[in-house]
């Protein structure tokens, strides 16, 4: 199977390469395949993966020869698994306005559900899986193609891949077919463990079989950063140290830790958001234009961008980062508990729920421009944005009193929610006087198109089925991202830095404000 089929506009599913099917929008339709989900009884499968598969079937992008095979310790049985997946589809349908289950799409998937119960490190599980896959090839037309999706906790990833190898399920059933493995995040806990995991994966798989997911990259609006930067003449010339004074990247969540305390206690904001989502957004913001939008072109530039990020020295970790933890407070009209009062959180937990940092990108384009990154839970609203603040004009031809209300120009890429672009500039206040004030102009991405944007997991699952790795993280990208995060982990381990408190419903601790005030700047209020 040509790895880039479907990417180039030719249908990946050869059955659709026929004049009768042109113009039906099926050029991104996947070939028959068995999608094998490890950890299928879990939250991600029900909330994201199954609704995404149903949506793809609904858009005609899955082949009738698609089977969905669950693997896990819970003994669901084929019927139980099918029932659970039906509930997942109904729950997801219900979330959409006027949403109803597309019965036609469901009927297409319904016959292809199988479940294999067993331990993840038990070879017998994989032997049974092998038999089920062979049956599906024969009876359901899955054609020997496999997409293994590792949706278990990360501790199990290497055991699954090892056993896939031992059972001979790591390669396609037949020559010319594909076998790919999608690995969920987080990829490692630090640089060492990420390298170890990578090594273990590579003992069984080739790099081009490994699809490391960061669902942020599946978001339309994250991809739109590339379109905005590289399809327009007007932004790129000012996208550099010559005009940009500073850049702020914010990933704010209004939710608390919820039911994920077990995971979050071990991770914290650095591992949960910064090492992956935030650094991915940073890479897309600072990267150089790729020669082409090919997987290699884009990923090479992202790696170069991350490579240019100056790694913090231990003393800089103390001076240039702020680690914080939320206390109780009022958010959205509700009195919410502090992190330490949440279920499953240790009463003396030192896990950070907020992290702000100042980074430098040492290359020709960005030297001297500070990048302020922040992420946190229980902030006043859920928002992800990249804000470029521009230098002031060299000379203001107005009296200082006329421009007191004039801030610096800014270009804000809003990634979620209300995806779009805001441009902030000065305009004359109507009247006899020549007063100038800041105004902002909003472009709403969703309002500008009729097309519905697919959910991130739809996009990524389809890309994995089509063999397009552009939006997945390559091994050297993971390593670069850990290289940036590692000094923080080490410094915090050596000199235990207690997280400072901040009140839920605020934009973080005063220490984070001081980080910018020391540079004569302020955080934006998104």
């Amino acid at each position: 199977m040509d790895a880039s089929a479907g990417v180039l506009g030719r249908p990946a599913d050869d059955a659709l390469a026929h004049p009768l099917f042109e113009g039906l929008g099926v050029d991104r339709a996947a070939s028959p395949a068995a999608v094998v989900i490890f950890g299928a009884s879990g939250d991600l499968t029900s909330r994201k993966l199954m609704p995404a598969l149903q949506a793809l079937a609904s858009r005609g992008q899955l082949s009738p020869g698609t089977a969905i095979v669950g693997v896990g310790r819970t003994d669901l049985g084929d019927e139980g698994f099918r029932r659970q997946m039906r509930q997942a589809v109904e729950a997801a349908g219900g979330r959409r306005p006027g949403g109803k289950v597309d019965e036609q799409a469901w009927a297409q998937l319904e016959e292809g559900f199988r479940y294999v119960a067993g331990g993840y490190d038990d070879l017998a599980t994989y032997k049974r899986l092998g038999e089920v896959l062979e049956d599906l090839d024969r009876d359901h037309g899955t054609a020997g193609n496999r997409l293994h999706y590792l949706s278990t906790p990360p501790g199990v990833f290497s055991a699954v891949v090892h056993q896939l190898g031992a059972a001979g399920l790591h390669h396609p059933a037949r020559g010319g077919q594909f076998c790919r493995v999608v690995i969920e995040k987080p990829f490692g806990r630090d640089l060492d463990s990420a390298r170890r995991l990578d090594h273990e994966l590579h003992e069984v798989l080739e790099e081009d079989q490994i699809y490391r997911i960061d669902h942020y990259l599946g978001k339309e609006t994250v991809q739109n950063v590339l379109a905005l930067r590289f399809a327009n003449t007007i932004f790129e010339p000012v996208w550099s140290r010559q005009y940009v004074d500073s850049v702020q990247i914010t990933v704010a969540e209004s939710e608390g830790v919820g039911h994920r305390a077990g995971f979050y206690e071990q991770a914290g904001a650095l591992r949960d958001i910064v090492q992956n989502h935030l650094l991915q957004v940073l890479a897309l913001t600072v990267m150089e234009p790729p020669a082409s939008m090919s997987p290699t072109g884009i990923r090479n530039e992202k790696v170069k961008a991350l490579d240019a990020v100056d790694v913090l020295e231990p003393h800089e970790v103390l001076s240039d980062t702020v680690r914080a933890q939320y206390g109780g407070g009022w958010l959205g009209g509700e009195d919410v508990p502090g992190y330490l009062e949440e279920d499953g959180v240790a009463p003396d937990s030192r896990t950070e729920t907020y992290l702000a940092m100042r980074l430098r990108v040492d290359n020709w384009r960005w030297a001297g421009v500070p990048f302020y990154l922040r992420t946190g839970k229980r902030l006043p609203k859920r928002v992800t944005e990249v804000a470029l603040e521009f230098s002031r004009v060299p000379h203001l031809p107005f009296a200082p009193t006329q421009a007191v209300q004039l801030g610096p120009n800014a270009l804000v890429l809003r990634i979620q929610p209300d995806e779009g672009i805001t441009l902030r500039f000065g305009a004359k206040v109507p009247g006899q006087a020549f007063d100038v004030r800041t105004v902002s102009m909003d472009f709403s991405y969703g309002a500008a198109f009729l097309e519905e944007a697919p959910e991130a997991y739809e996009r990524l699952l389809l890309d994995a089925l089509l063999g397009d790795p552009t939006l997945f993280i390559r091994t050297d990208e993971v390593e670069q991202a850990w290289r940036i995060a590692q000094p923080l982990l080490e410094t915090w381990a050596e000199k235990p830095v207690l997280p400072v408190p901040y009140e839920a419903g605020t934009w973080g601790p005063v220490e984070a404000d001081r980080l910018l005030e020391a540079d004569g700047r302020r955080w934006r209020q998104p």
Binding site: P19, F21, G60, A107, D418, S444, G446, A447, F449, L450
Partner: protein, 317 residues
């Protein structure tokens, strides 16, 4: 949807209409800055119900055109320009989408110069889509000079006999035809059949095809098949029933039939039915067809080929 304000005048001028639009938009600061993406001009005769048109367009929710101008053309020589303007906001997340409705009722000489009426109302630099509710416009209609895209429904205007005229229009402007869009579930189901094991090779050896449905549906389907499968003999089956396609090789027959809200596909090998499946098709409401047409503003070479061939076949008798 929140209505910011409305305005009407039975003896309006284009200046007063534009002034009313500006004035109404200024009443709500949320409408001061907005994202616009296309202007939709809807043209109909005295029978057109302007409120129905707006209801249909508003039914597209947040995906409706930013400005809709409905032109109701009345018979008679007496000059008339009556206008009704509505400015609305549709809440979407923290923002609001601005939507303008302009309904114009015209008679007299001005109806021959509709381009001069709509030009000031189109949003700058953005696509202009003209939706002719009933009759196909004349290819020389000056209104088409403003249009980037034309939407028609051949089932309401022209039928099979009108395909030649539609083809002449197509030479001037990109066209979407609801009659063609209604056949989409049939074509989709055929693609689904082709993805079943064993069916695909049949399509490489189709020797004969039969199409059914109304005269218009048969024409469009036959035009499409003739364009896509040159050299295959195509028959028309004029018995009543929904649109259908039968593709035959030596001994296998693939049939797809559309009836009401279902599409049935079957494969018959020799005398033995090998496989059959019926699926529900979403109802082809005017809203659904309009949404689909507005999504297809790019060139559609498949429809162009089908229309050109169908027009040639019907001209040739």
């Amino acid at each position: 949807m929140v209505t910011v304000g409305t305005w009407r005048d039975d003896a309006a001028s284009m200046g007063s209409v534009l002034h009313a639009l500006d004035d109404l938009r200024c009443r709500d600061h949320r409408g001061a800055v907005r994202t616009s993406f296309l202007t939709l001009l809807v043209v109909g005769d005295a029978a057109i119900e302007v409120d129905d048109v707006f209801d249909t367009v508003h039914g597209l929710g947040e995906h409706q055109p930013s400005r809709v101008v409905a032109l109701r053309l009345l018979p008679g020589d007496e000059h008339r320009l009556a206008a009704r303007v509505g400015v609305h906001l549709l809440p979407r997340g923290n923002q609001c989408l601005g939507i303008d409705d302009v309904a114009l009722e015209l008679s007299g000489e001005v109806t021959a110069h509709l381009d001069s009426v709509v030009e000031p109302l189109t949003l700058p630099d953005l696509p202009v889509v003209v939706w002719c509710r009933k009759d196909h416009p004349d290819p020389d209609d000056p209104l088409l000079q403003t249009a980037d895209h034309l939407i028609v429904d051949s089932a309401l205007a022209g039928g099979r006999a009108g395909l030649g005229h539609l083809q002449r229009l197509r030479r001037r402007v990109q066209v979407s035809d609801f009659a063609w869009l209604r056949l989409l579930p049939l074509r989709r189901q055929l693609a689904m059949v082709a993805r079943r094991p064993g069916v695909r090779p049949v399509l490489d050896h189709v020797s004969a095809a039969t199409v059914g449905g109304t005269a218009l549906e048969r024409s469009l389907l036959a035009g499409w098949l003739a364009d896509r499968l040159p050299g295959v003999a195509i028959d028309e089956d004029d018995r009543s029933g929904g649109p259908s396609i039968v593709l035959a090789t030596g001994e296998v027959e693939v049939t797809v039939t559309q009836a009401d809200a279902t599409v049935t596909a079957s494969v018959v090998q020799g005398d033995r039915p090998a496989w059959e499946s019926t699926i529900g098709a979403l109802p082809a409401t005017t809203e659904a067809l309009l949404a689909s047409a507005l999504l297809q503003l790019r060139p559609d070479p498949v429809f162009d080929g089908a229309l050109a061939t169908a027009a040639r076949r019907s001209d040739g008798g």
